[in-house]
């Protein structure tokens, strides 16, 4: 087995506030192999987005955040790196796709200019014309046929689905080793969302990109991820290969989540009990139990 692209070990995060420290991550561990698609599933407030921000190196610079534990990216400990070195990784070795493509693109610059900025992160000397050609080639990869029109457009002139493709193209433009996707496509129509996921899946397969896929939508996770982690109130509660977890969810919280999803085949709206003390039960690890 090769070394993981991302290896999070016993990560704790607390925020210092007026009333003292509030711990939001209580020692989580997670790893992603090169080229692997891993989902982190949880509700709002579970800690999934702060985890992404720590991997991106964004929370480390926040004075009120206390982080302990290890985050190894391609074998290098992010906590030991300077803020400058972490900055250099963003947009090059790791990149991110956000939930709402239209609001994450800058409304006052054309797509071509924004692409130029992205490509300059990896190669500061890249000329405008060369960046334009490279951008057109990447847009073709995300099935945008009229790349010239898109490059000359402002984000508000494009549909949400088109902006999402532009975001994916930008995120993959510098061939990152790790892509973090935070609820991609949730702001889009369901048919566009399905196309976006298919496209993302094909691209990360072609480029052998590792993906940390953050979502609360179990259906989307089932279709996209190889492996998944379920997080509840800052603790991992279940992890394993996607098929294994869906076939046999064993943690009470995972079971409650799955039971709460309304089914296309009917069956009514499930009755959901209030948060149960069982949700604090220890981690169920499908892989630790399976003989390897």
């Amino acid at each position: 087995m090769s070394a993981p692209m991302l290896d999070i070990r016993d990560l704790h995060l607390s925020f210092k506030g007026h009333t003292g420290l509030t711990e939001v991550l209580h020692g989580i561990s997670l790893h992603i192999q090169p080229g692997e698609r891993v989902a982190l599933v949880g509700e709002s407030g579970s800690g999934k987005s702060v985890t992404a921000r720590i991997v991106l190196g964004l929370l480390q610079d926040l004075p009120s955040a206390r982080i302990t534990g290890q985050v190894l990216f391609d074998g290098r400990d992010l906590e030991l790196m300077s803020s400058r070195a972490r900055h250099a990784l963003r947009g090059t070795a790791m990149s991110m796709i956000f939930q709402d493509p239209t609001s994450s693109l800058n409304p006052v610059f054309r797509i071509a200019d924004q692409f130029h900025d992205v490509l300059r992160r990896a190669d500061p000397s890249v000329a405008k014309a060369a960046a334009h050609d490279r951008a057109a080639a990447i847009l073709a990869e995300v099935s945008i046929r009229d790349a010239q029109r898109v490059l000359n457009a402002y984000p508000f002139q494009l549909s949400g689905g088109m902006n999402q493709r532009v975001m994916i193209a930008m995120a993959l433009a510098n061939e990152p080793a790790l892509l973090i996707a935070d609820e991609p496509g949730t702001a889009l129509d369901v048919t566009v969302q399905a196309q976006t996921l298919q496209l993302m899946r094909r691209l990360v397969e072609d480029h052998h990109t590792a993906v940390l896929f953050i979502s609360h939508n179990l259906g989307v996770v089932r279709e996209f991820a190889d492996r998944l982690y379920v997080i509840y109130k800052g603790r991992m509660v279940e992890q394993g290969p996607t098929d294994a977890v869906f076939a046999d969810p064993r943690h009470p919280y995972t079971r409650a989540l799955m039971a709460a999803v309304p089914h296309l085949t009917g069956g009514g709206i499930p009755e959901i009990a209030e948060a149960s003390p069982d949700f604090a039960a220890p981690l169920v690890d499908h892989e630790a139990e399976a003989p390897s």
Binding site: E43, S44, G160, D189, V190, T191, V192, Q193, A194, L197, H216, N217, L218, G219, V220, R222, E223, F246, A256, L257, M258, A260, V261, P262, H263, L264, T265, G266, G267, G268, I269, P270, E271, I272
Partner: protein
């Protein structure tokens, strides 16, 4: 069969004129029976929000008529008509006044529509909160002090405060976590039965629709392309577009996958 509570006859809405005109809703007609939950589904730009706004009287149809219990509603509606049809929006954080306590928001609805004797209104507010599963003391809190699910319960209580008979639910659970969504949906279902409410449930989430709606109207580009029983729409949709919508839904069980695959196979047969 009883007379419909709501009847739309050949309703259209056009924005702008000439070449730039947008036909947001085109000749839509349907009846809604009292106590029914009719889902309006479609993608962005299908006209479902325009339709909702016309039902609510935010603007009138360009042509066509909307009738409530047999009375055609005028462009400028009387208070009683506005009271009868209420709205629950997708994002309760933006639909509740952040400066006003929950109690004051509910109280305002009672005051405007003159519901209950003024001396009784504080008690009515408490009863409404309890009806949606919140303790009466929530009346003193501000919207910001509530969770997303609790705020949506307040928005529902506000619609109930008016003693409305028709409630337009515009994506009421799309902003909520899945466990919270299930609880709010159950609450809506229970309230419909207890109060005999009629729901116009606008959403793009077909898994939710499958479990809460009696009938479904499918919209595409301003036209209603299909309307029928939930069961029929899911087992034998007549339109390719409907099949495409259903087969794009991310699902988690084998049975759902089988349903999707069946519909997707039909869609391929339809293709020229």
């Amino acid at each position: 069969m009883t007379a419909p509570i709501l009847r739309l006859s050949d309703v259209s809405r056009t924005f702008g004129t000439g070449d730039g005109a947008v036909h947001a809703v085109r000749s839509v007609s349907f009846d809604v029976a009292a106590g029914e939950c009719l889902a309006i589904v479609g993608e962005s730009g299908s006209g479902k929000s325009t339709l909702a706004n016309m039902i609510l009287g935010i603007y009138p149809p360009t042509t066509g008529e909307i009738a409530l219990e047999g009375t055609v509603l005028p462009a400028r509606r009387a208070l009683a008509h506005r009271q009868a049809i209420q709205l629950v929006q997708q994002n309760p954080l933006s639909s509740l006044n952040p400066k006003r306590s929950i109690g004051a928001t509910l109280r305002l609805a009672l005051d405007v529509h003159g519901i209950g004797a003024p001396a009784d209104r504080a008690a009515i507010v408490g009863a409404l909160l309890e009806e949606v599963g919140l303790a009466a003391e929530y009346a003193r809190r501000a919207p910001a002090a509530l969770s997303g699910g609790q705020r949506q319960r307040v928005a529902i209580a506000r619609a109930l405060a008016c003693q409305s008979r028709v409630v337009v639910l515009d994506e009421p659970t799309s902003a909520l976590d899945v466990l919270v969504q299930a609880r709010v949906l159950r609450l809506l279902d229970a309230l419909r039965a207890e109060r005999g409410l009629t729901y116009i449930f606008i959403t793009h989430d077909l898994s939710v629709v499958r479990n809460i709606a009696d009938r479904i109207a499918v919209f595409e580009k301003g036209r209603m392309i299909e309307i029928g029983d939930t069961e029929t729409i899911f087992s034998a949709p007549s339109q390719t577009y409907t099949r495409r919508l259903i087969s794009a839904v991310p699902v988690i069980t084998g049975d759902e996958l089988a349903l999707r695959d069946k519909l997707a196979a039909h869609t391929k047969e339809d293709a020229p």
